[in-house]
Symmetry: C2
Subunit: 130 residues, 2 copies
């Protein structure tokens, strides 16, 4: 049973500002093709580094490492090392990562749909502001 302390009211201003800057950072980090694809593929099943690299195709070792570290750091991907010889390393989407997947799908779909519209708007905005 919840005590009074556990019932949260609206978040205070400091929390809002923190959530704000965090959201900004995360959505800017994940709004890149590789992060999209990693989240998409790991959403299907747990994979090893090499499997993931094969599935995605065209991603460099370095780029995959960087993006996996970014996702791991943000708690979106979990890295598990099994003490075999050689060690087996697997990557799994966390619950937060899985939740992000739906959001990322929405971002992707929206961008594809309105890319042309946005570019047109920008050109005419420049023209009218000039």
């Amino acid at each position: 049973m919840g005590t009074r302390q556990e019932i949260s009211a609206l978040p205070p201003e400091a929390d809002l500002a923190r959530a704000d800057s965090l959201a900004r950072e995360i959505f800017s980090d994940v709004a890149n093709k590789w992060a999209f694809l990693i989240i998409e593929f790991l959403g299907q099943r747990t994979m090893r580094f090499s499997e993931l690299r094969n599935e995605i195709g065209g991603i460099s070792h370095k780029m995959l490492t960087q993006n996996l570290r970014m996702l791991e750091r943000n708690g979106l991907v979990e890295r598990t090392v099994y003490p075999t010889i050689p060690p087996r390393v697997e990557y799994t989407l966390t619950e937060a990562g899985d939740g992000l997947r739906a959001v990322v799908d929405g971002m992707c779909g929206w961008t594809q749909r309105y890319l042309g519209h946005i570019e047109k708007s920008r050109s005419s905005f420049r023209a009218s502001a000039g």
Copy 2:
């Protein structure tokens, strides 16, 4: 009826890269509290600058102007000037802006839900990397 030219195949690499950088920019731009709120309120109805400012509450004139210009530039908000004396200026969410609203709702909800988890992950990632 569509000609062969109009049937689009998978977008070529250049288009993907363009969509990629555009998505990054837009989601970073809109991932701030004020843009979220503007999109939310204009999603309910067309508003004048002063109405919008009242509804949002706590936003400065400058910050509202800046965000509206950013949204207008990206084709998410349409600004209409009626030639009355004094001129009446109204802001409406475009179709692209309305589509973004659902995505933004998802971003907001996800961030609120996983804020604590993300911060905890970051701390332990720092600790284990140190």
